[in-house]
Symmetry: C2
């Protein structure tokens, strides 16, 4: 399982301030911290970027790349910023945020083609709403793949995100189960071992209950892993969750187990 | 998920000494501790009981029952001790240790009939060896169910244990995956939601690496849960593992999530 850091996010006040001041240092520091903590890729989410979107996105990508050679995920709803990010990226780059929403299909497919990058497709309804259950997620996955293939893109470049919702939603626990079911059934349904990613931090969005949120994270992650998840987008500075991920990988490994792997 | 304490086990020196001296107090104390720690049942494993097997088994069952009303599991290879334990038991009782080994079939089926108790059947080969993979486990499950039904027993009284092996075995990690696959496929294969149990402590049997063993336990348990496990036989005094189990249950719950459930 690859661990993708979601730490370079505009909701972090340090990141928001650095973005405002175009100061590369906090981005570089965070990128290095993420790598040291075990990230195998870094998601860059600068928010909607209302002003100077292209300059700012390129600036962050360059700052992050000056500190680490890890792959990056371009994660913004701003189409111009996406393109600027892709232009600035030099290593493996993944475009995050695709779905069946018409604006995404129209805006992102040409970018995925032009830059020949992997793209993360969310199992969301065309109106942006979260599907009700696993079965609706699976229909959306089929439609997403058809759209992708119909545009002449290589299906192996599609990474599917089944959309974790906050457990505190009224149907949050049911949705947590539906996500697992969808993950488990996707490869057979689509007929190939489609890559998957899920945003673990979404599960426990909100304030308070820090200890309990960490407990849920480190408990749900092995469930996702057992259901076939390939990439976890997560707060890589949550040490216990990273430990759980390492234990998952050790348990799911092909080689002879060694205690040292997880100590 | 029900949590079954495996703490009343002869490998615990305090339990071994209490058994030697027929002292009920350590059994009572441990039973109370298990209940307080969150056990929903208690496994009683006094070992092979070479001397005064019947007296000793009945003694332990009575001692445990004098301290708690929790269901008990009678877990000994000694046929006479099994029967004495079942005679002494007053509440819900489960007979642990059935398999396709001829001596088990011959010895335990009549007991399950006579006492009309649930019985835990291990997916072991008739020679007592551990199956190679999920597929062999599933064949053994079918055979186990046929044997059970052929003897006129109610299939809903069979609880299947897919047999967790130490992760340190040469094929330990592969086996950890095979157990999950078997658990996931069992209900469809057998055609009803067969109850399942697994011995979590087996995963990390051995000395040393205490921190790492606890990490593996609390990581593998959610994987088992996500694969459909109904009952976890475990060291109920491992607080982090119990917390993980509570988080599993909260995530897998039908009702609206409440943070208080896991705090």
């Amino acid at each position: 399982m690859e661990l993708v850091a979601d730490n370079i996010h505009v909701i972090n006040p340090i990141i928001a301030a650095a973005l405002e001041q175009l100061d590369p240092v906090p981005f570089q520091q965070m990128a290095r911290e993420c790598e040291e903590a075990g990230a195998s890729a870094i998601d860059i989410n600068p928010g909607p970027l209302r002003r100077e979107a292209e300059v700012r996105m390129a600036f962050i990508v360059e700052a992050v790349q000056s500190a680490t050679k890890l792959p990056i995920l371009i994660d913004t709803a701003n189409r111009a910023a996406m393109e600027a990010g892709l232009e600035a990226a030099t290593g493996r780059t993944i475009l995050n945020g695709f779905s069946l929403e018409p604006s995404k299909v129209k805006g992102m497919i040409p970018l995925a083609k032009k830059f020949d990058v992997e793209i993360i497709g969310y199992l969301l309804r065309p109106d942006g709403h979260v599907p009700a259950d696993a079965s609706e997620r699976l229909s959306l996955a089929v439609e997403l793949l058809h759209t992708f293939q119909g545009a002449g893109l290589d299906s192996h470049k599609l990474i599917i995100d089944p959309v974790i919702v906050p457990v505190s939603w009224q149907n949050g626990t049911a949705q947590a189960g539906e996500v697992l079911t969808a993950l488990r059934l996707l490869p057979d349904l689509l007929g190939f071992p489609v890559k998957t990613i899920a945003g673990l931090s979404n599960l426990t969005t909100g304030k308070g209950y820090r200890k309990e949120r960490l407990l849920l994270e480190r408990t749900y992650l092995p469930m996702l892993f057992a259901s076939g998840l390939d990439m976890a987008l997560m707060n890589i500075l949550h040490r216990d969750t990273v430990q759980a991920a390492r234990a998952c990988c050790a348990l799911g490994g092909e080689s002879v187990f060694a205690w040292e792997e997880i100590s």
